[in-house]
């Protein structure tokens, strides 16, 4: 357990020391860097709770070896919003009732940002398909879809830079 490497997380270089090379990105984010937003719920890439962006690609961080992300841009929920204010997607999740227990929420927020940045006006079916890799056990998804649609409408009415 003496590996040392640097990860570029949320725009900042973070040193990982005394690590075991077998640790996945989720474990290193949470246990070594103290970034606790990404959650572990299935440990095999089925539920999306650990979703983060690596070089703008949505990945399940439980399936990524941390050391393989050296030299890449990693974005977690902690890096989404500036100056502590919630992003439009985050605020919409709160406002529409898309959050209950909240365990799936950070992963869904990352996935929803990725979807809306890629496809600003997603259809209902597109939202369902694109976010079907993120399991929520509380909400039945209705309010989550509502939140994503609300952001899409708001961004059309008030164009802005993608986050």
């Amino acid at each position: 357990m003496n590996e040392q490497y640097t990860l570029h997380v949320n725009g900042v270089d973070r040193a990982v020391t005394d690590a075991w090379l077998g640790e996945n990105l989720l474990y290193v984010l949470r246990e070594r860097l103290g970034l606790l937003a990404a959650k572990g719920a299935c440990e095999q890439g089925e539920c999306g709770s650990c979703s983060v962006l690596v070089d703008d690609r949505l990945v399940c961080s439980c399936l990524v070896l941390a050391a393989s992300a050296v030299g890449r841009r990693i974005l977690t929920v902690e890096g989404l919003a500036e100056r502590g204010a919630p992003s439009d997607v985050q605020q919409a999740f709160v406002d529409t009732g898309a959050v209950q227990c909240g365990f799936c929420t950070p992963g869904l927020i990352v996935a929803a940002h990725a979807l809306l940045d890629r496809s600003p006006d997603p259809s209902d079916l597109e939202i369902r398909e694109e976010l079907s890799g993120n399991v929520c056990r509380c909400t039945g998804y209705g309010r989550i879809i509502e939140a994503v649609q609300r952001v899409a409408v708001a961004r059309r009415e008030t164009p802005q830079e993608p986050s």
């Binding site: 937003a37 959650k39 919630p86 709160v94 927020i109 509380c138 909400t139 309010r143």
Partner: protein, 775 residues
Amino acid sequence: MSTVETVETRVEGRARDGVIGTSPVRPDGIAKVQGSFAFSSDLSAEGCLWGATLRSPHPYARIVRIDAGPAWRISGVEAVITADDVPGRLTYGLISQDQPVFASGHVRYVGEPVAAVAADHPETCRRALAAIVVEYEVLDPLLDPEVAVAGTRDPIHPDGNVLRHQRIICGDVDATGPIVVEGTYEIGMQDQAFLGLEAALAIPDPGGGGVELHIATQWLHEDRKQIAACLGLPETHVRLVLGGVGGAFGAREDISLQVHTCLLALRLSRPVRMQYSRAESFLGHVHRHPATVWMRHHATDDGVIVKVEARYVFDGGAYASTSSAVLLNAITHTQGPYRCPNAVVDGWAVRTNHLPCGAMRGFGVVQACFAHESQLDRLAEASGLDPVEVRLRNAIHTGDVLITGQVLESVAPVARCIRETAELPLPDEPIGGHDRDVMRLPGGAGRTADTGHIRRGIGWGVAMKNLMYSEGFDDYSTARCRLADGRATIKFATAEVGQGFVTIAVQIARTILGVDDVAIDVIDTAIGSAGSTSASRQTWMSGGAVDAACRAARERLFEHVGSVHGVDPLRLAIDGIDVVDTFPESGGPALRVPVAEASAGIDIDETVEYRHRPTEDLDENGQGNCHVAFAFVAHRAVVDVDPDLGLIKVIQVATAQDVGRALNPLSVLGQIEGGIAQGLGLAVMEEIIQIDGRIRNASFTDYLLPTMLDMPPVVATLVEEPDPQAPLGAKGVGEPPCISVTPAIVAAIRDALRQVDGVGKPLTRVPVRPADIAL
């Protein structure tokens, strides 16, 4: 969806934001979307070690020998404990304490804890568990619940193989009618599958005389009672703090890793955290009972129920958990939301060497409802009625006598729920949608045989669900309200598991006290019990407690204002955010003081326990006032079915739910949609598979959960008829949504298959599998 518009329209026009009846956002919402909300798995402490559990690989075996020596020799391992290291009570359990902290003597299910370790890294823990040597003498497991019922098998536990046997005899047992329909129905084992895996952090007191446990649970005080007994400590030396809870659905009502974590921490005088993996979680908590239900209905020519007969066999698995209460719920809901003058019901909950079963959302009523709703459709067919008419004709009303002899006192808008559901619009899109996207077809892209073969079916389900605890349990909740300088602080031990009690607690305080600034104190055992977050009880019980505490504080405030202004406190009331005199002297200025001003410089502190009315045990014939109250719901499902491949897609679920009064309409909608998703899962995909006593699908790859693509739009109507027995008029809303949607979806599949050949298939088992449809 129209649902959302309904909710938002409802909210408009209310006097003040954030009071009862509006939908303010969750107080923990921003923390949850930003990822800063601390779930129990996010907690750690300086010098913290990891704990892990060694589990039985056999469904039934005798432990010959345990050798922990090889584990001790691994660098980084700090502790290895077994049953020999339990200082207090060796067993625990919610109703009867029959489950060992660690197995000694025998293991009775695959996954039963045998030992635990603490080490510096999860990987070290894994190596330590692998190094522990346990020698077993493998025994022949009891896997057939009917064998346990028959009593032909030696007990696999000192308490015997029957967890409960209860019958209900009501009215004329020989009554019959010209129409008799019967069927045998099976319900598979469902997992709660909360996303936030079991996790806890135990911090020992200096000197080892006590421990503080941060835990995701449904009932802090019940946990504390069981933990303290096993630790051999007085309850006052065990403090529990609610760690953020990532869903519950019944699976956190029983002890899992609580005692193990505390034992390791106390042994080492160091903080210890434990977290289950997903595979381990399937072994580590109780599940919904698999059940076989035989039912026979006797009815008149015009479809009016004369008598119901039923026999239930619930497989409780290796330990008792709440099996006896689950069975009671099932048999007492045999009639469903229908009048039924005569009944003969026999129910068994038995012990086997399967995974232990206990609480899951719906708690026994899910199994009964799948049977009685399937039966109602058979009755409809036999009597030439459509599914809606047969249900309306038999709908139960307030004042009717239940098969337990109990008078139904709750508001019972069953017929209204059915009618309002029937009035909701059906989907206007054809099979495949207007855009003919294959993703809208059963099976999704590229898997459907022939679009022209797909049939669309419609099915119905209606349910009755008891609220709160039954059978004489002293069920209460405690809340404390402090009011000072315009700020109310509310404290309770109510487990917030995601359902949103923290939101409505704030709403209640704002409404009663006229303050906008309301804080929720830490949720822990530093106050009396709130009871469990289960049985759809917290809105009624803890809502009632918060309401009562706030009212008590308001009385003190009125006394203070009355003495300051020389007004009789009985004349004072809250109007918006002001204290006002409701009976001003003629000619004089009416007294109106903002609560923030009136409460400046004073410190009011009131704690209140709220109890619901007492209930009774059932007698040997199943007679007695065993339940407190009931809620009702109707579901209509529209399902597209590919009969060739056995694939289905649920297109829409419509529902009208009896909620009493919607304290927070958006939260109610969240419970409705979320419950429907879980009922859909049971209908068509979710089942724990055990073969020879071994679970075969302990992962989210193999245990299928509904995704966003599986979940249809929901159209919902809230039926609001405030219940005079409920402290706020509001009924619990958590469980009803998941109960009758399952039979509604299955009925819709039957309806679609009937269109194929005029006959269809009985589909008497859930979840319905592709082979059940296609073969």
